[in-house]
């Protein structure tokens, strides 16, 4: 009993720290230190890059990349001219297509007003027509889902954007038709 009394008494100053220790950068998770070093590198003399650094030989490397101020400006202007030509060609083509469509619609208006008004109607993608509802009733679940997938008035999902290389399967020539009302 006397030994337990002796062990319980501890001098406070030596065994229990009453203040926080300063953080030791070499201990603990090093990932935070890595992130800190990457985000705030040592030499932040050369701004305005986001982290404030360039490569060591940035001056002569840039001289090597850009032949001269005049050359760089000429290249820049040539590029802008090229972009302008491409844009103008595309805009002219669009203008011609629109003109074709406008003339066709004017002609249709002269010929038959009813057909013209119907052509100007926009399909509501939220609605199914009666013919579509009737046709969907008789179909099994999977076929009904495939039938419903093509929505009048919206772009079809199967319309793909161009890729850099063709697909390994190529064009699907053996497509099986899904009957849809006209």
């Amino acid at each position: 009993m006397s030994s337990s009394l002796l062990t319980r008494w501890k001098p406070a100053a030596t065994l229990v720290r009453q203040y926080a220790k300063p953080a030791d950068p070499t201990q603990g998770d090093q990932r935070l230190n890595i992130i800190r070093r990457v985000l705030y590198p040592g030499n932040i003399r050369n701004k305005p890059t986001p982290t404030g650094t360039w490569r060591r030989d940035v001056r002569q490397t840039v001289q090597r990349a850009i032949p001269s101020v005049q050359a760089h400006n000429t290249i820049e202007r040539a590029w802008l001219l090229h972009k302008r030509l491409v844009r103008k060609r595309r805009e002219e083509q669009l203008e011609r297509k629109y003109e074709c469509m406008r003339r066709a619609m004017d002609e249709l208006k002269k010929i038959d007003t009813k057909l013209y008004m119907e052509a100007n109607q926009v399909d509501d993608p939220r609605r199914r027509s009666e013919a579509e509802m009737a046709q969907m009733k008789g179909l099994p679940v999977m076929e009904a889902r495939a039938f419903d997938a093509r929505i009048r008035g919206l772009f079809p999902r199967e319309l793909k954007i161009p890729a850099d290389t063709p697909s390994s399967t190529g064009w699907n020539y053996e497509w099986t038709p899904i009957e849809r009302p006209i």
């Binding site: 090597r64 290249i75 319309l159 161009p162 064009w171």
Partner: protein, 272 residues
């Protein structure tokens, strides 16, 4: 005996508009609907020589100016991935600035060999069986005009004609019915002529253009309204196999259709 007054019939019975011979000028024009079926480009356009040179120039400038790569953040120190990345980066620097420009750290021969062996090992593991196909398809070389894989970068359009009568090449066309809307006529006639085995989508109800051929004085006016459609899958399979078809670019169409037809149709097609 009631005599039925016979109307002057053309060789093809016209279901919708009729004109009487007694009237000097025919009143209603004969409407047809045609479908311009477009296979959109499958491949991205190839950059021109100038574009490639410009992109290379800009890439060099960016390489000259970019921040030093934080290798310790992306790779574990001394790992194989880091070794591979460093070797690739040294190659890219040599390509950008020339062989003698960047001072490379001197590595012992055995260290170089070890690094090369490690990189080869990784390449063996990473290699997959998926190979990228070339952008030029075999049907380009053979000039198979019925193939939908030909000319991946271009817009292809469907042209059709009767094999027997040798009618001129034109877009699939049919007469418009009286009780139908124009886009419905276009869809119906197109399915009748080219078969059901294609996944097509007519874009809008509005016609994208019209063509009025020159007709003799007393004949009724003929107008064809064109509708734009896209094909996503399948192939033309005409109900009666007395039809020829081809998938052609805009320039190829010009050499095959009549001059009058071309003048009416050329502005509706995409140049590229």
């Amino acid at each position: 005996m009631a005599s039925i007054s016979r109307l002057p019939c053309t060789t093809r019975r016209v279901p919708a508009a009729r004109s009487l011979a007694t009237v000097a000028k025919p009143s209603k024009p004969v409407l047809s609907t045609a479908v311009i079926l477009n296979r959109a480009p499958i491949l991205t356009p190839s950059p021109t020589v100038f574009e490639r040179a410009f992109y290379a120039y800009q890439q060099r400038i960016r390489r000259a100016l970019h921040n030093p790569f934080p290798s310790e953040f992306y790779f574990k120190q001394g790992s194989l991935l880091e070794a591979r990345f460093n070797s690739e980066e040294r190659y890219r620097e040599r390509v950008a600035w020339g062989p003698g420009y960047v001072k490379e750290e001197v590595m012992s021969e055995e260290r170089k060999a070890a690094e090369k062996a490690a990189i080869d090992q990784m390449a063996l593991q990473d290699r997959s069986d998926d190979k990228l196909l070339p952008r030029v398809h075999p049907s380009d070389r053979v000039r198979d005009y019925q193939s939908l894989d030909r000319k991946g970068r271009r817009n292809l359009y469907l042209l059709i004609r009767d094999t027997g009568h040798k009618t001129p090449w034109e877009f699939p066309r049919g007469l418009a019915a009286q009780d139908e809307l124009l886009h419905q006529s276009a869809q119906r006639e197109f399915l009748a002529k080219c078969g059901n085995y294609m996944d097509t989508w007519i874009v809008t109800r509005k016609p994208i253009g019209m063509f009025k051929p020159r007709v003799p004085e007393q004949a009724p006016e003929k107008i064809t309204f064109f509708f734009k459609a896209h094909i996503m899958a399948g192939q033309v399979r005409p109900a009666d196999s007395m039809k020829d078809f081809m998938w052609l670019t805009k320039q190829e169409i010009q050499t095959r259709v009549t001059k009058e037809y071309w003048e009416g149709v050329k502005d509706m097609l995409s140049d590229h």
